[in-house]
């Protein structure tokens, strides 16, 4: 008799905590699903970079592309820079530094790409020269269609996961 009385009392003691935990747990369970980050499908659209005829010369060229991204409740239209290497059969390079994702710029004077954030340097063909970047600038999928150079834009996140 004494024993059941004791267990009854301890049950009553933890009951409030149990109910609180139950409420919080059921909302938290939903919260976990609710807040789960969403993978955005990579856009596989081919985006115009430039006419092949205007891509000449020994220097890398900076060109703008306009890409659409589906990001949650919005479709965003963003402008990105890409590098075109006419000297390397119009290979297209991402301007995103493989290190921390800063935007790399072409330095005419020193004939190299440099990252403004952590001083990674890349040669005119995109190969890594020095600095913390783990590799050279990433090439983007490209093709020539009706005399136009086109790329598929891939963000850094997808690059590193691949």
């Amino acid at each position: 008799m004494d024993k059941t009385d004791k267990s009854r009392r301890s049950f009553l003691k933890i009951l409030p905590l149990g109910v609180l935990a139950g409420v919080i747990a059921s909302v938290s369970g939903a919260a976990f699903r609710f807040l789960r980050p969403r993978l955005f499908a990579a856009t596989d659209a081919w985006l115009d970079v430039a006419s092949v005829s205007e891509l000449t010369g020994p220097q890398p060229l900076t060109r703008k592309i306009v890409a659409e991204h589906i990001a949650g409740w919005a479709i965003t239209t963003e402008e990105h820079n890409v590098f075109v290497l006419p000297a390397k059969n119009n290979q297209v390079l991402s301007t995103i530094c493989p290190h921390e994702g800063c935007e790399v710029v072409w330095e005419q004077a020193t004939n190299r790409f440099s990252c403004p954030c952590h001083e990674s340097y890349f040669a005119a063909d995109g190969a890594r020269i020095s600095g913390p970047s783990p590799r050279g600038l990433d090439p983007l999928p490209m093709r020539v269609q009706d005399g136009k150079l086109q790329v598929q834009y891939v963000s850094k996140e997808q690059e590193t996961r691949a």
């Binding site: 109910v19 939903a30 919260a31 965003t76 963003e78 402008e79």
Partner: protein, 424 residues
């Protein structure tokens, strides 16, 4: 356990429901955007796309209505227990909570920005505008301007998710501070709170919170209805001549709540409190019932309301439509995306020279077309930029004026580059 004992648990139920409101509200803030162009999109996104979004939003929506009911019952229970003499803090906290919960419900209803939300905002506007003496100012202060706009939505958002919850938290802390938590939330409280939460959770699995098409799609026939906790007010406003609506909706409840807060210090407290609360219960029950009945009785109202429900169901089953955001400099978008005129052309030039550079004639004034203008002498891109800076140097007369203070050099160049491409 006596029934009387179970009545002691109303405060705990209010506490649990408040906890649910805080949790679900915080979660929805992870997606919601308080702006007239995205509010409805983001709420639809929560409703249609995000996992568990519909349930969490439903918990918040119906939870707010249950909360109002339990906060009211809690006040009545405390009055019956004469808490206004035995525990003043508890009494005042309960009154303040009831007021704050109603305020939170009122501001929250506007946030989804569907037709229902828009009309709720309109009513809030009308109630403020009708206040004696301060009406004009109260209205524009609430709206953030002379009319309902995106500023209004921001204000309701700030009130709903920052100011009012902070006040509620402060009031709750005041109540809980120094109390014995185990006595405040004992086994019986826990059971009552748990049962109410379970009922709410199951209810919300079955009934999603209402959400209609965005305000923009609302038709003139739309019949707005408030949340259940405001039905009494909605119905009362039908019987009261226009100007007195604010007295009923804001001033009177304000006075009642103030008197109730002061009850511990009043003589004949029992009588005053009993009459006020009694009248309150009667008005709320009577008017809420009347609201339900009048919607049932009138056939046209009934048909329109069921049409609205059908529209909402149809809209709900449509796939989510994302918003389009343009994050590029204005120049490249207009050019690259549409081939249309630059933004600055649309701002300064289009009124006279037309959307396609076709020109126009207004009385005696002749605005020349810009088509094929590059074929004329002194009309290269550089010339046009120079001309935009100093028209007279290029032999042009007013009304063509200089834009050197209005446009930057790149903007002029962008316009010029677009103009030279115009062909007949």
């Amino acid at each position: 356990m006596t029934p009387r004992g179970w009545l002691q648990t109303t405060g705990a139920v209010v506490g649990i429901l408040l906890l649910v409101q805080f949790l679900t509200g915080t979660l929805m803030a992870f997606y919601y955007v308080p702006s007239v162009d995205h509010a409805h999109t983001t709420v639809s996104y929560i409703e249609k796309v995000v996992s568990s979004g519909s349930w969490l939003r439903s918990l918040h929506h119906y939870g707010s209505q249950w909360l109002a009911v339990f906060a009211f019952i809690h006040v009545i229970r405390l009055f019956l227990d004469r808490a206004y003499t035995s525990n003043r803090t508890q009494w005042i906290v309960a009154i303040l909570l009831l007021a704050l919960v109603m305020a939170a419900g009122g501001t929250g209803f506007s946030l989804p920005w569907d037709a229902r939300a828009f009309f709720s905002t309109r009513i809030a506007e009308g109630l403020m505008a009708g206040l004696p003496f301060v009406g004009r100012y109260a209205r524009v202060w609430l709206l953030g301007g002379s009319d309902i706009s995106t500023l209004t939505l921001s204000r309701f958002f700030a009130l709903h998710v920052l100011l009012i919850p902070a006040l509620i938290a402060a009031v709750v802390v005041w109540r809980v501070f120094g109390s014995n938590l185990a006595r405040l939330f004992g086994p019986r409280h826990a059971i009552a709170g748990g049962v109410v939460f379970l009922a709410l959770a199951v209810w919300c699995l079955k009934y999603p919170a209402p959400l209609g098409p965005s305000v923009a799609e609302a038709t003139a026939e739309y019949l707005p209805r408030p949340g259940s906790q405001f039905l009494w007010l909605y119905q009362s406003l039908k019987y009261i001549p226009g100007g007195l609506g604010s007295i009923t909706g804001v001033v009177l409840p304000g006075i009642v709540l103030t008197v109730l807060i002061l009850l511990p210090w009043l003589k004949r407290a029992r009588l005053i409190g009993a009459s006020l609360l009694g009248a309150g219960v009667v008005v709320v029950l009577l008017m809420t019932t009347a609201a339900y009945l009048s919607d049932r009785r009138d056939q046209r109202t009934r048909e329109q309301l069921s049409k609205q429900v059908a529209e909402e169901i149809a809209w709900r089953s449509k796939p989510f439509e994302p918003a389009r955001l343009t994050l590029t400099p204005a120049s490249t978008t207009t050019e690259a995306m549409h081939g249309g005129p630059p933004v600055m052309y649309m701002k300064f030039c289009v009124n006279c020279h037309g959307e396609h550079g076709e020109g126009a004639r207004q009385g005696k004034l002749n605005f020349p077309p810009l088509l094929d203008v590059s074929a004329k002498p002194r009309r290269t891109v550089d010339d046009i930029v120079g001309l935009l800076k100093d028209p007279t140097a290029y032999g042009l007369e007013p009304p063509m004026r200089s834009f050197s203070t209005k446009l930057t050099e790149p903007q002029m160049r962008e316009i010029a580059e677009w103009i030279v491409k115009l062909k007949r």
